[in-house]
């Protein structure tokens, strides 16, 4: 189906969804966090079988995390970016692994790097970091250079 038909179907089918056609083959759907998993189920039923990735953006000024689920449909050749916002204090959302089993690993990485809790994910253990003691390192209020200075010694001076 075309992007406009899909946009109308999603806005009708998923509660509180706002869809925009970015360009040909790309659709951005924004949902509240309580509707994220039901939106995933609805989209999967419409042929979006491939979850490419789950990415997380730290909107520090607005005090929110934004999770983006990247879905692809082989039949329609449309890339849907399903976006939800989480509050920065105590960020948590229901896991998507019942819908897409491999979402478990993406959520594990986001949990390690941003500190987002995914309720129901059976494996929120450290993935890449080794005995990490500090705050989640990909958050924008984590001062990487200060941490490097403290832990590993001097960094070479870089002309900005």
């Amino acid at each position: 189906m075309s992007e406009d038909d899909l946009k109308k179907a999603i806005e009708r089918g998923v509660e509180a969804a706002a869809a925009t056609v970015q360009k040909k083959g790309r659709l951005v759907v924004t949902v509240p966090k309580t509707a994220a998993v039901s939106a995933l189920i609805a989209l999967r039923a419409r042929g979006f079988e491939h979850l490419s990735a789950i990415s997380c953006t730290d909107w520090l000024e607005e005090g929110q995390f934004e999770l983006v689920y990247h879905l692809w449909s082989y039949s329609d050749k449309i890339h849907v970016m399903l976006k939800t916002r989480l509050p920065r204090e105590n960020p948590q959302i229901v896991t998507a692994s019942p819908v897409f089993p491999h979402a478990q690993t993406y959520e594990r990485e986001i949990h390690e790097m941003y500190g987002v809790r995914f309720e129901g994910n059976p494996r929120l253990t450290p993935l890449l970091l080794d005995h990490w003691q500090g705050p989640p390192p990909m958050r924008r209020d984590f001062d990487t250079r200060q941490y490097v200075q403290d832990t590993f010694g001097s960094t070479p001076p870089v002309g900005e």
């Binding site: 005995h131 990487t144 490097v148 832990t151 590993f152 070479p156």
Partner: protein, 187 residues
């Protein structure tokens, strides 16, 4: 060639053996290891320098730290280095062991290999060409000749320094287990 100098050989067969039979432990440390297979295969033949890759650290006396050293890898590198028998030589390969290289502001890689292991020589580049490895091997020969490739002795003499630095990054390493808790670590 250099190795045909009989008098030098007769004066110190140990040095002759260590120079022309450098067996590198085949530990693929970081992305720099992509330069090692071309070096040890037919095109840039490292066997004519006596350099062979070895599967186990017990049989090796050269350790090429190729590429960036993440914190997890540093634990494995320290364990491997501790298992190698003396005399052993460490060469930092690429710019990441020198000063952090491309990952100079990363929270998960070490910046100066020299603080955790004694390093005998550095090869600059990202990545260095295979010819640079051969230049480094020849330099290492000259250092062994002059008797200044003494990283393993520095390790023994300054073990407290290296141990403190290693412990600051990797307090959970098995070799520190049972010892008193390092300052700053929650017991």
């Amino acid at each position: 060639m250099d190795r045909a100098e009989i008098l030098k050989t007769l004066k110190s067969p140990a040095k002759w053996g260590q120079k022309y039979s450098l067996w590198a432990v085949y530990f693929c440390t970081g992305c720099g290891v992509v330069e090692i297979p071309p070096v040890i295969t037919s095109r840039w033949d490292a066997e004519r320098f006596g350099v062979l890759p070895m599967a186990t650290p017990r049989q090796a006396n050269l350790f090429l730290i190729t590429g960036y050293v993440s914190v997890k890898t540093l634990g494995a590198i320290i364990r491997t280095y501790d298992q190698m028998p003396n005399p052993k030589y460490v060469v930092g390969f690429g710019s990441c062991p020198v000063n952090g290289g491309m990952y100079w502001d990363s929270y998960n890689t070490i910046k100066h290999l020299d603080k955790y292991l004694p390093v005998d020589g550095w090869i600059a580049g990202c990545m260095p060409r295979p010819e640079a490895i051969f230049v480094a091997v020849v330099h290492l020969w000259q250092m062994i000749d002059k008797g200044i490739a003494t990283g393993y002795e520095r390790y023994k003499d300054n073990y407290e320094y290296y141990q403190t630095n290693q412990r600051a990054i990797l307090p959970h390493l098995a070799k520190f287990a049972g010892a008193e808790a390092a300052p700053g670590r929650n017991s």
